[in-house]
C-alpha cells in the first residue's frame, strides 16, 4: 500500500462529495437511499471475487465465497427493493379523463 496519501485524498474527497450529495436527497426518499447506498457499498464484491476465484488455499476460497454471497445478496436485493419502493412514489392523479398510465408514476 504505497499510495496512502493518494488513497486518503480520494477518501476525503469522496466523503465530502457524499455529504454534499446526500444532504440534497429528499427526506421522502431516505429509506430507498439507505437501501441504494447499501447496494452500492456491496461493491466489495470485487474484492470477494478476487479472493474466491484466484485458486487460493481452501480456507481463503471459502471465506471469499461467503463474502461474495453476502455482497451479491446485497447488490441484487438492494437494487431490487430500492426500485420497488421508488415505484410506489406517485404524484397525485390528474383530474378525470387524463389518468396517468399505471406504473409510470415514479418516473
Amino acid at each position: 500500500m504505497a499510495n496512502l496519501p493518494s488513497h486518503l485524498l480520494v477518501f476525503v474527497l469522496a466523503a465530502f462529495l457524499g455529504l454534499e450529495v446526500i444532504r440534497r436527497v429528499s427526506p421522502l426518499l431516505h429509506t430507498p437511499l439507505m437501501s441504494l447506498t447499501n447496494a452500492i457499498s456491496a461493491i466489495s464484491v470485487v474484492a470477494a471475487i478476487e479472493i474466491a476465484g484466484k485458486g487460493h488455499p481452501g480456507y481463503a476460497t471459502a471465506l471469499g465465497t461467503i463474502a461474495l454471497t453476502c455482497s451479491f445478496a446485497n447488490i441484487v436485493g438492494g437494487f431490487l427493493i430500492t426500485d420497488r419502493m421508488l415505484r410506489m412514489f406517485k404524484r397525485r392523479e390528474k383530474p378525470k379523463g387524463q389518468t396517468a398510465k399505471p406504473g409510470n408514476g415514479g418516473r
Binding site: A14, H30, T37, F79, R84, R87, R107
Partner: protein, 504 residues
C-alpha cells in the same frame, strides 16, 4: 516524471510502446484498481469500467434528490455495478469460476426473496440484515487477506496492517450489532433496552481491549493467535453495544450501522489498493452519517446519549398530577362529521399506524375527504417509523401521492390554520411537553405542532405511554378528542360513516 512500474508487465513488452495512454495516467489508473499483471489494453478497459462505475454511483445518489428522477438513479447504480463486476472478472486471472458462480447463485437466492417478498413494514429489519451482510463481507475479506499475506510474505507493514485491523474490527462489530438490531426489529428479542450494572464500563473496556489487540497485531502481525481473539472481541462488542438500545432509537442506530458498514468497505479499499472501493464505501459511510445526524437532531439527542443512554425505560416520575386529569373520548360518527366539515385536515401518522396495518384504510379516508373538497396533508416527523423515511414508504405503498407527504419543518406552520389534526398511532412526536417540560426525557425534541389545530383527534389503542415511556399531555387538552381502539378498526369506522354521509 520517473516511470515507476507499478505493474509487472510480461517480459519483453515495453510499456511506453504498448500503453495507449500517457505514463502518468497509466500509473494513476493502476492506482485505481491496484493490480497490474495483465496487458495494457485489458487494463485500460478494466480501469475505464471502474471509473465509469464510480461516476455512475455518484450520479445515482444525486438523482435520488427528487422522486421524479430517482428510478433513473437506481438504473445508474445497476449499470455501474455491472461495469465494475465485469471489469473485475476481466482483470484477474480467475481460475475458480465454480466458486464465483456458487457465490452469485447463492447471493441471488438470498437477495431476491429479501427484496421481492419483504413487506414494507419489515424494510427496517431487511436493512439491518443487509448491513450485517455488507459488514460480514468486509470482515471476511480482511481476514482472508491477512492470512494470505502472512502465508505469502510472512509480514504486513504497519500502515496496511493497522487499517486492516480497523476494517475487521468495524466489520465484525457491525455484523453482531446489525444482527441484534434485526432481532429487536423482528421482535425475536425484547425491544425494550436491556441494562445491567457497569454496562458502559464493560463496553468501553471491551472496545479498549480490542483496540489494544489491534495495536499489538499492527506491531507484530505474525502473532496469528491474536487475530481470532481480536475478531471475537469485535463481535462481542457489537452484541453488547446494541443490548441497551430500545425501539425509539432504532432509526439512529440503523443509520449509524449503515455508516460503519460503509466505512469498513472503504477501509477494505485502502488495504487492497482499490480506490473504487474507497469511493463507494465513503459514499455509503457519508450517507449513514448524514442520516444518523438527522435522526439525532430529530430527537434532540447526541450520539453518545443514543448509544449509552438506554433511552426508553419507563420513567418513574411525578405520576400523581397527571393521572387525575380526564380525557374526552368521542364516537366515529361525531368524528366523521367534524372531518367532513373541515377544509384542511392534517394527519400525523406514527409507527402504530403501520403496526395496525391501517395504511390502506387511511388511503380510503384520504380519498373520501379529498372527494368532498377537504384538503388532506400528512405531517411526517423524521423519526416516524423504524428507520429514516420509513413512514413515507408505508404511505406511498398505500398509494397516497408523495406530494401530500410533508416534512415536519414544512408543515408545522400549517397546523394553526388546520381544522383537524388527526393523530394516528403517533405519540411522543406529538407531545407538547417536549416544548416546555424540562423534566421530560423528550424535552427539546422537535415535535409536530398538532396541538395548534382547531380540533385534535387522537386514534389510540389505550392510554399506555409511547416508546419514551412519557405521558402525553396532548390527550388532556380541551380541544382533543380521543378515539379509542385499533387504528385500522377506527379508521374503517370513519370511512364507513363518511361514505354513508356522502350518499345522503
Amino acid at each position: 516524471m520517473v516511470l515507476t512500474a507499478l505493474h509487472s508487465f510480461p517480459a519483453g513488452l515495453p510499456l511506453a510502446a504498448e500503453s495507449p495512454l500517457p505514463k502518468g495516467l497509466t500509473e494513476a489508473l493502476a492506482r485505481m484498481a491496484g493490480h497490474g499483471d495483465i496487458d495494457p489494453y485489458t487494463q485500460l478497459m478494466v480501469h475505464s469500467s471502474y471509473i465509469l462505475a464510480v461516476a455512475l454511483f455518484v450520479l445515482s445518489l444525486k438523482w435520488l434528490s427528487s422522486p421524479a428522477s430517482s428510478r433513473r438513479g437506481v438504473l445508474a447504480g445497476e449499470i455501474g455495478m455491472l461495469a465494475a463486476i465485469i471489469g473485475t472478472l476481466l482483470a484477474h486471472q480467475i481460475v475458480n469460476w465454480e466458486w464465483i458462480i456458487v457465490g452469485l447463485v447463492l447471493g441471488s437466492a438470498i437477495g431476491v426473496p429479501l427484496a421481492v417478498f419483504m413487506p414494507m413494514t419489515a424494510v427496517p429489519q431487511r436493512t439491518a440484515l443487509s448491513h450485517a451482510f455488507g459488514a460480514l463481507a468486509a470482515a471476511l475479506v480482511g481476514t482472508a487477506h491477512y492470512y494470505l499475506e502472512m502465508e505469502h510474505s510472512g509480514n504486513i507493514p504497519p500502515v496496511p496492517m493497522g487499517i486492516l485491523c480497523l476494517e475487521v474490527l468495524l466489520g465484525s462489530l457491525t455484523v453482531t450489532g446489525s444482527m441484534m438490531a434485526f432481532g429487536k426489529l423482528q421482535e425475536l428479542l425484547p425491544g425494550r433496552p436491556i441494562t445491567y450494572r457497569f454496562q458502559n464500563i464493560i463496553n468501553f473496556a471491551l472496545l479498549g481491549g480490542a483496540l489494544v489487540l489491534g495495536v499489538l497485531l499492527t506491531i507484530n502481525p505474525q502473532w496469528k493467535f491474536l487475530f481470532p481473539v481480536f475478531i471475537g472481541l469485535g463481535l462481542l462488542f457489537g452484541f453488547l453495544l446494541l443490548l441497551p438500545i430500545g425501539g425509539a432509537d432504532m432509526p439512529t442506530v440503523i443509520a449509524l450501522l449503515n455508516s460503519y458498514a460503509g466505512l469498513s468497505a472503504s477501509l477494505m479499499g485502502f488495504v487492497l489498493d482499490n480506490q473504487m472501493l474507497i469511493v463507494a464505501g465513503a459514499l455509503d459511510g457519508a450517507s449513514g452519517l448524514v442520516l444518523s445526524i438527522i435522526m439525532c437532531k430529530a430527537m434532540n439527542r447526541s450520539f453518545a446519549n443514543v448509544l449509552f443512554g438506554a433511552f426508553g425505560q419507563v420513567q418513574a416520575r411525578a405520576e400523581g398530577a397527571i393521572e387525575q386529569r380526564t380525557v374526552r373520548s368521542t364516537t366515529p360518527e361525531e368524528a366523521a362529521e367534524i372531518l367532513a366539515d373541515a377544509s384542511l385536515v392534517i394527519v400525523a401518522p406514527g409507527y402504530g399506524l403501520a403496526v395496525a396495518q391501517a395504511q390502506h384504510k387511511v388511503r380510503e379516508l384520504y380519498d373520501l375527504l379529498t372527494k368532498r373538497g377537504v384538503s388532506v396533508k400528512f405531517a411526517i416527523h423524521p423519526v416516524a417509523g423504524r428507520m429514516p423515511g420509513h413512514m413515507n414508504v408505508l404511505l406511498a405503498e398505500a398509494d397516497i401521492p408523495y406530494t401530500d407527504l410533508v416534512e415536519m419543518e414544512n408543515i408545522n406552520g400549517d397546523f394553526p390554520g388546520a381544522d383537524v389534526a388527526l393523530v394516528i398511532g403517533a405519540n411522543d412526536v406529538t407531545n407538547p411537553g417536549a416544548r416546555h417540560d424540562r423534566a421530560s426525557p423528550i424535552y427539546g425534541m422537535p415535535i409536530l405542532d398538532v396541538d395548534k389545530a382547531r380540533t385534535v383527534m387522537v386514534i389510540k389503542r389505550s392510554m399506555n405511554p409511547g416508546f419514551a415511556g412519557v405521558e402525553n399531555e396532548l390527550y388532556y387538552l380541551d380541544r382533543t378528542l380521543m378515539l379509542f381502539g385499533d387504528a385500522k378498526v377506527v379508521v374503517s369506522d370513519l370511512v364507513k360513516e363518511l361514505a354513508e354521509a356522502g350518499k345522503r
